[in-house]
Every structure is written in C-alpha cells, then in structure tokens.
Amino acid sequence: MKHKTFFWFFLPTGLAMLLFIALPIVSVVIQSVYAPHEAVIIEVENCGPFGCTTETTIDQEATAAVRAAEPLGRFVGLDIYFDRGHLAVAEIKEAWSSTDSLGDFWDVLFNLPFYRALAFTLTYTFVCTPLLIGLGLTIALAVNSLHRHLKGLAIFFSLLPMIVTPLIGSLILFWMIDSRGILGNFISYLADDPDLSLKASTPLMWVSLIVYGIWSSAPFAFVVFYAGLQTLPKDQIEAAQIDGASRWEQVRYVVIPHLMPLVTFVALIQIMDNFKVLEPIIGFQASAHATSLSWIIVNDLGGETRQLSAAATTSVLTILGVAILLSPVLVRTWRDFKAGGH
C-alpha cells in the first residue's frame, strides 16, 4: 500500500485518536501547572454613626471578569504537584523529622489523600491480578475436563460477571455483602458478631473490594486460558504420560509452560485495568475506607466545585504511574523490534 493511500485510510481513526486521546494529555499537563484565579478582594469602608470600619469583600464582578479573560488560571509551575493534596512534599519532610518510628511515619503518610489512594490502588492491582490468574486457570482446567454439552453452559454463566457493567456488578455484590444483605448477615452470624459491618471496617472493605475485583475479572482469564488449552499439543501430553508423569506433573511441566505467553498477556491487561479501579469504590460507597487515583480525579471533577487543576495534576501523576507499570513491556517490545523478530 502506498503512503498516500495509507494516509487517507488511516486519517479518520488517526484524527480521532489525535484529537481526543493525544491532545487531552497535552491539555492535562498544561492545566496541571495553572491554578484557578484567586478571588479579587476589595476593601470597603463603612462609615456609620459610631465611626468607620473597613471590611474586605470579594468583588464578584472583577473576579468573574478575570476568570473569563484567562480561563486557564494563573501559572504556578509545579506548586500543585507538591501541595498537600498530591505529593505533599512539605508534610512528608515534616513527618520524617518529627515521627519516631517507621509505623508513625506510615500513619502520617496514609492520611495524605494521594498516598492513601496510591496504597489502595497498588494493593488492589497486585493482589487481584495473581489471584484472578490462578482462579481463571483452575476454572479453565476444570471446565476443559467437562462433557462438551456442559461446557457451553459453564462458559455462559462464567461470562456474566465480566460482561456486566462494572458499576452494576459491584452494586449487585454490594447489596449482598452489605450488613443487611444475605452474605453480610451470614458472615456476621459466622463471626458471631451482630455489629459486624462492611461500612465500619477498613480491612473488611478492602477485602470485599478485592473479592469483587477477582470475581469480575477471573472470567476473562478463564476464557483466554480455556482457548489456550484447545491448542495444547496432544503428543506432548502423551509423551509425558509415557514417561510416567502424574496428572499434576503434566499440568506443571506441560500445560503451564504452554500457557505462559497467555499468562503474561492476561497479567498485562489486568494490571492496566486494575490500576484504573473506580466503579467498585463508588458502588460499595467505600470512599471512607478506600480510595483510588481514578476516584480522586472523578471526585475533583464532579460535584459543585470542579477542581480542574487538582484533577489534572492527579491525572498526570496517574499517567506517570501507568508509564512505570508498562515500561518493562515497552522495553521488551523495543528489544524484540531491534533484534528484528516480532
């Protein structure tokens, strides 16, 4: 295909991605170094029978005029990055010198919104991903041994948690795990503690969010591994049997190595997706116990006061996080590319 023909074929999709994916990244970077204008303050002198008093008020008209003239706000450089809502450099320095033990330091760190969100996001990502891969693999092996009429049915029901809208899936689960729901009731009955409630306990909330994460994403891992099992070379399994490998050894030394590229693929996709975790936190109304980077951005963007600069700064930090997570893959792709094979 000629360059010119390629250009015209690719133009619409390329333009869409340039305008609505590449430019917004530039836009968040720019917004993150500007802060909203401060209100214009005027001093008014009120003179009455008992003398004069000066009071300061906000000049609404002048403030609106300044804001309309420069909607971006005023340039503040990296100030927003270092403020309390984001990297909180001053607070960390202060805590580092004033706290005695590492535990106290962690407590201070954990109370800063950005680090609190980062802690949950990373925990969620790196606990959910290996567990859902393990569960998916087990389901795939079990379904693969079923009779073929039952396979379709099993796949149908397995797909549901993944296909359903994340917010809806988390609500459905939340209504059951809630202290008034059937599972919540059952758990508090098992623990013999009638006051046990999801809304009151941070560890319990984290566990339920992670359970939701595994529940909703294990089907994806299952489907991919199940497809991989269909391409398993029969002769290798037979050779292993002749050599006297037990069933477990066949899985360990033949099946899993065969599925390894798929495991990498699923892990990559899931790390990317789990890092964006947002809907379960909203569905579980968990923001008092767990927040994520995406949740902070949504919280800043929504509501009455749209804090665009704060949201933009968190967005840039989130993009940097994704870049760090993806860098091993990108480096590897680059090496493969340099080596000539792809």
Binding site: P71, A154, L167, W175, L326
Partner: protein, 293 residues
C-alpha cells in the same frame, strides 16, 4: 479426552465437578438473587430479621397481598422516568458502534495491508493509548468543552467514546484483516481496481464475522461506560449507568433502594440476552488478541 490414560480417577472427577458447581454458583447466583429480590419490598430484599423472607416475601405479601410486586419497576420507570435514560443509552450505543466500526475498519485494513515500519509504531502507540485510564483524558476535556459550550450533550459523549474505542478496535480488526489473504485484494488491484475499490468490492463482503465481533465489544464499551457519561453529560442527557449512580445518592435517603435495584436489573437484562446469542463471538474476540499475538 477419550483415551483410557486421560480418564480421571473418581476422586479427582468429584473434586473438579464440585469446584465447577461452586464457581458457577459464585458467578451466577448474585444475578438470580438480585432478580428475584427486585420483585420484593426493601424489608424483604434486605431481610435482617429472617433471611427466608427474601425468598418467600412475607413483608411483600403484607404490603401488596402477593409475594411479588412490580413497585420497584414502576418507581424507576414511571416515577423517575428511567425510560429517558434507556433511550439515551440506545442513541449513544448505536452511534458509537456504527461510527467506530466505520473508521476503525478503514484504519485496521490500512494497517494490515501496509508493510512499512510506521505500522508497528502506530500499533504500539495505540496500545499505550489503550492503557491510559480514561478518567485522565476526561480531566483534559473538561475545560475546553466548557469553553466551547459543548459540555453535557450526547454528540460530545459519542465522539469521545468513539475515540477511546479506537485503539482496541484497531488492534482487533488489524489482526482480523491479516487473516484475510492479501491475494484477494491484490488480484483485484491487478484487474484495475483502486485500493478503495478493492476494499469496497472484495474485502467488505468477507469481513463481517470480524466486524461483528469487534462491534460487540464496541457496544459493550459504550453500554458499560461510567466515566465519560457521568462526567460529560448533563443531568437531562444522562444514560442508564450514571442515572443508576445518581439514584444511589437520592434513594438511600428516601428509602427507595428498590428503584435502584429495579433499574439495575433492567440494565442487566440486555447484556444477558447479548451473551446468550453472541457467546461464541465474545469468546473468540477475547481470545483473538491473546492466542494470535
């Protein structure tokens, strides 16, 4: 799996069967439970006193005389006019799927037929775009959209969703078009067709299976989206998912949780039907990227 050596011992067979039953219960039971409960009153749906109330609906019988009631559905659809949101979701889905398939097919076809180096780079850039959290992009739209006065309307959300959909669509259609032999359109070009005529008359007739699979995923992305629709649409233009999120804020205080439950069941039903009819396509689409790549 018929050979004698492959046959499982009884113990292992029981273990796997038990595991499958357990997993299917975990995967499907919440949906059936919520569906069943959506026809009850709140006291039965959240039955603290006696969990069997949720099954037989004692409080529902006390209130309405029968153990099933459509009160939640009436509240959601009639009182809160949920049908408006359903129509909005329908409009968004139709336009997102048709636009993103049209431009994605052209782009994916071009990527699969061009042997130049920049193809790899475009695909890697698309992969990076796919990895970006959508909410970070939305933060970038807000200010310009306010300035241009296009915030809050359906076309804006549709265009944004189309663009966000492109990286995935391109990857899927690229790998799909690579499986269509190059000789097909090359022989058409030898016969005097331009590249576009070859695409129009030779490729389009044979590309439908891949396009339908990709379209399903575009539909799911548009239907399931929460971030774009909740942040970029005004209250009167909301689609189903942000409306359900908004229900939560109001209904918990008003004691109308059942409206939200009914709305949730209503929004899940189309997905149920979709999986029933297109299970094969969904499975093949999920695995296409993985097995071939």
């Amino acid at each position: 799996m018929a050979s004698k050596a492959q046959r499982m011992p009884v113990g292992l067979r029981l273990l796997t069967s038990g595991f499958i039953v357990l997993w299917l219960l975990v995967a499907a039971f919440p949906f059936f439970w919520t569906f069943w409960g959506s026809f009850k009153v709140e006291l039965d749906f959240f039955s603290i006193a006696d969990w069997t109330n949720a099954l037989v609906g004692r409080n529902t019988s006390d209130t309405y005389g029968t153990p099933f009631t459509g009160a939640g559905y009436e509240g959601a659809w009639v009182q809160n006019e949920f049908w408006r949101n359903v129509i909005n979701t329908f409009i968004v889905c139709v336009f997102v799927v048709s636009i993103s398939l049209t431009i994605g097919t052209l782009g994916g076809y071009a990527l699969s037929r061009s042997g130049f180096r920049y193809v790899i780079w475009l695909l890697i850039v698309a992969l990076i775009f796919r990895a970006l959290p959508q909410v970070t992009l939305v933060a970038g739209y807000m200010l310009p959209f306010f300035e241009w006065n296009v915030w809050g309307i359906l076309p804006t959300a549709i265009i944004v969703l189309v663009a966000m959909n492109q990286p995935f669509t391109l990857w899927m259609l690229h790998s799909f078009f690579q499986n269509i032999p190059k000789e097909l359109d090359e022989s058409a070009k030898v016969d005097g067709c331009t590249q576009f005529q070859a695409f129009r008359h030779v490729i389009i007739p044979v590309m439908w299976p891949g396009v339908i699979t990709t379209g399903l995923f575009s539909f799911l992305l548009a239907y399931n989206d929460f971030i774009v629709t909740s942040l970029l649409l005004s209250e009167s233009n909301r689609t189903m998912v942000p409306e359900i999120a908004a229900f939560l804020g109001t209904t918990y205080t008003e004691g109308n949780v059942m409206f939200a439950v009914a709305a949730v069941v209503s929004a899940t039903a189309p997905l149920f039907v979709l999986v029933m009819f297109f299970q094969r396509q969904i499975v093949s689409g999920l695995t296409a990227g993985a097995v071939k790549g």
